[in-house]
């Protein structure tokens, strides 16, 4: 039977008009949405046009439409960064006027110094001393309690400012471990004896076949002038304490022999002039706080 095309069909079960669409005997009922629902769709379209006018929207070949507000999230980030820089400058002013001990005594200044110092350490010091300041063979560990050149605030600051064996800086820290073997100052046998003597005062295992008394004589004649009679070291000269458990170049017999033959002399750059005084202060406080500060 041909459907009556003039009247909308009505579903017999629900009494709801149908849209007239039918698939395999299944009819689509017409339950109309409220008209305002359609208006909200048109409203969002109008809104989007307004949005295009006000905000950046359309890509062009090499740029984009900027909108009449000229808004840019990049510019907004720039403003935020400028605000941050201004805040850092005021904080830096606080650090500039305070002495190192004053910074240590003030929790606020210390907090600022530590944050700034940590960032500067990561940028400048970490390549040699490591991200966690644990150092490596030849590069001192800064978080233990052993210091080659002193662990007080002003001593740390001096080391950072002028460096170690940094020839361009007249005030740099200088100390020499001579190459006893290479220059012929000591014979191979004497070096072996000195090494065993040092091992005995450091509490390390000792080769009993070596003459320790001879070793003590060699030490007194050649080493004691810097490292001291008992081997306790001298921070004025950068001569390490040979009796403690910390060895900058390792505590193996081979490493110690190598040091006596070829000498030692690590270099640290002077940071005065490369970093501003406030950053150096902050670095000093940061390094001092790592666990070894005295």
């Amino acid at each position: 039977m041909a459907p009556d095309l003039e009247k909308p069909a009505v579903d017999a079960v629900t009494g709801t008009p149908t849209t007239g669409h039918e698939w395999d005997g299944i009819q689509e009922l017409n339950t109309p949405l409220p008209r305002w629902w359609l208006w909200t769709l048109y409203l969002t379209i109008i809104w989007s046009v307004g949005y295009w006018i006000v905000y950046p929207a359309w890509p062009l070949i090499s740029s984009h439409t900027t909108g009449i507000l000229n808004y840019s999230s990049r510019a907004e980030v720039g403003e935020e960064l400028a605000k941050l820089a201004a805040l850092r400058n005021t904080q830096a002013a606080g650090l500039a006027h305070a002495s190192l001990t004053e910074i240590k005594a003030s929790p606020d200044l210390q907090r600022i110094a530590l944050a700034r110092g940590k960032a500067a350490f990561g940028d400048n010091c970490a390549p040699c001393h490591g991200g966690a300041a644990t150092g490596a063979a030849g590069f001192p560990n800064l978080i233990d309690d052993d210091w080659v050149w002193g662990g007080k605030l002003d001593e740390i600051q001096k080391t950072i400012l002028h460096g170690i064996r940094w020839e361009q800086n007249p005030e740099t820290r200088v100390g020499n471990m001579p190459a006893f073997g290479r220059t012929g100052m000591l014979k191979r046998e004497e070096i072996a004896q000195a090494v065993e003597h040092v091992r005995s005062i450091a509490g390390l295992d000792v080769d009993k076949t070596v003459d320790l008394a001879k070793g003590k004589e060699v030490f007194a004649a050649n080493c004691a002038s810097c490292h001291g009679e008992g081997g306790k070291g001298n921070q004025e000269l950068g001569a390490p304490d040979l009796t403690d458990a910390i060895w900058l170049f390792g505590s193996s017999r081979q490493a110690m022999t190598e040091g006596l033959i070829n000498g030692r002399g690590g270099i640290m750059p002077a940071w005065n002039g490369r970093l501003d005084p406030v950053t150096i202060k902050a670095l000093t406080v940061y390094v001092h706080s790592l666990g070894g500060g005295q």
Binding site: L33, I143, D144, A245, G291
Partner: protein, 490 residues
């Protein structure tokens, strides 16, 4: 393509049924005013709820010199939520999860006991719509007057009545937004700033947004919100059962519908006659414009106004009140079948379950809130390096302590570390107390971070990892927290 196919396509394209509208205008509802028990309850709840909403930000609660004295305050800048004696930090936002669970299950329980109480009496959409309708009635008169006014051509009378209504609506809407922002800043200060146009831009923006939504939803959208936007009517229909009280047309008593005179005649000859006189008062007063006599339906918010209207009519025609009333489906069905209605079952599996969940979640939250520590200690072991060797050969580990003081006073805390004999510890920046325990002071309502160094002689640091106890004891309030953490050695 055959000729027949082409003809089919043309017929389909010309099908006039394709022109039938898929969108329908929303018919405007003109609710009539009504007096009665449920109307009084609704007025009472309206004043109570709106009173809380508009006035709560002005309630003061003293918390000490450094903290805000507003009883309910969401301090976004300092990241604190204050609710009378409770102060929550961002990491305690799980209380909000608990509250949301409670709110959902309480809604379910309300529904299992007495239907859409929320929709009819407490929902902000209902409350504000009710308020807006009373404003409308004040300026434009009752149902008949409003219908006549809408049909009348534009005149001075119509213009001023309409204008007064919309201006009043906008003012209420504005103040709704105004009260909203007061929950996010010190209320008296912000009111003064708003009055002198000195308030922050965000305050005006939010007032603007809430003015728009209130005006649109309560003034214009009204029942359309319940019908098309709100998910609850749909969920509610799936959650209800035959034992839940609902606003019900007692069709066992009302049918067949006849006029008063005909009902009297039928009763005289002993024929059945319903009490419903088909006066349509229940439809006229309905704020969503539904006919309650069609049974429970999506559009019925169960506000009870049709009960008031029908009771009034029943009194006039000298029939007992309660043709429409709170009743269960089970009772109506039983009476219609001329059997004794079953006793109302308040205690059913679902009400037991809902009540159990509510007491469980509520109890857990109360317990947590009552026993929550106002002193938090979090310990992070330094990972790089795990340990350091010192000059004398001892092993040192370092830790970062984060200590949160949730009191409104600064607290001096003694830090101690428990471990094997010979364990020593040090905190940079701490001042030693009389008994040589280092003291750190945490300022009121703040978190501080300190570094702790713990060292053990090599002879006791034998195991690659062993537990130590880090303890923070409050010297002023006697509270203490202990955290167990690993000590690593080679």
């Amino acid at each position: 393509m055959t000729t027949l196919d082409i003809k089919g396509i043309q017929e389909a394209a010309d099908d006039p049924r394709d022109d039938i509208p898929l969108y329908a205008p929303a018919p405007k509802v003109y609710p009539q005013s009504v007096k009665g028990r449920f109307r009084r309850i609704k007025w009472g709840l309206l004043f109570f709820c709106l009173g809380i909403y508009y006035l709560l930000p002005f309630v003061r609660w003293h918390r000490g010199p450094s903290l805000p004295d507003q009883a309910v305050l969401i301090d976004l800048e300092r990241k604190r939520f204050y609710f009378f004696f409770i102060e929550l930090w961002p990491q305690e936002v799980y209380y909000l999860t608990g509250l949301l669970i409670l709110a959902a299950i309480i809604l379910f329980l309300m529904n299992a006991v007495a239907g859409r109480i929320w929709c009819g009496y407490l929902c902000p959409q209902t409350v504000w719509t009710d308020l807006f309708m009373s404003v409308e009635r004040f300026f434009q008169g009752d149902r008949r007057d409003r219908i006549r006014l809408d049909e009348a051509p534009w005149s001075f009378d119509k213009i001023w009545r309409k204008a007064a209504t919309h201006i009043s609506w906008l003012m209420i809407a504005w103040w709704t937004g105004g009260a909203w922002v007061l929950y996010f800043a010190d209320a008296p200060t912000l009111v003064l700033q708003l009055a002198t146009l000195q308030a922050p831009m965000t305050a005006y923006l939010w007032i603007g947004i809430l003015t728009f939504t209130t005006y649109a939803l309560a003034g214009h959208m009204r029942e359309q919100v319940c019908l098309y936007m709100c998910p609850w009517p749909r969920i509610q229909a799936a959650l209800t059962d035959a034992d839940a009280l609902n606003v019900t047309y007692r069709h066992d008593r009302g049918e067949p519908r006849v006029s008063v005179k005909q009902a009297a005649r039928l009763r005289e000859v002993g024929q059945p006659a319903g009490d419903c006189i088909d006066c349509h008062q229940c439809v006229a007063v309905c704020p969503t414009g539904v006919d309650i006599r069609a049974g429970a339906q999506l559009g019925c918010i169960q506000c009870g106004l049709c009960i008031d209207a029908c009771d009034d009519v029943m009194r006039k025609v000298m029939r007992p009140a309660g043709l429409i009333g709170y009743d269960t489906e089970a009772a109506v069905v039983a009476r219609a079948a001329r059997t004794t209605p079953p006793a109302r079952r308040l205690i059913r599996p679902r009400t037991i379950l809902y009540a159990a969940i509510i007491s469980l979640v509520g109890g857990a939250m109360l317990y947590q809130l009552a026993t929550r520590s106002l002193l938090d200690l979090a310990v992070n072991h330094e990972r790089t390096p795990l340990f350091t060797t010192l000059r004398d050969g001892s092993i040192r580990n370092s830790y970062t302590l984060r200590i949160a003081n949730k009191r409104s006073e600064a607290r001096p805390l003694a830090i101690t570390v428990g471990g094997p004999a010979g364990t020593a510890f040090e905190i940079s920046g701490a001042s030693p107390s009389a008994d040589w325990r280092p003291i750190v002071t945490v300022p009121a309502d703040q978190t501080i971070e300190i570094r702790l160094f713990v060292a053990m002689p090599r002879r006791v640091a034998t195991s690659s990892s062993q537990l130590i106890q880090i303890k923070a004891s409050d010297l002023a309030f006697g509270e203490s927290v202990t955290v167990k953490e690993n000590f690593f050695a080679p």
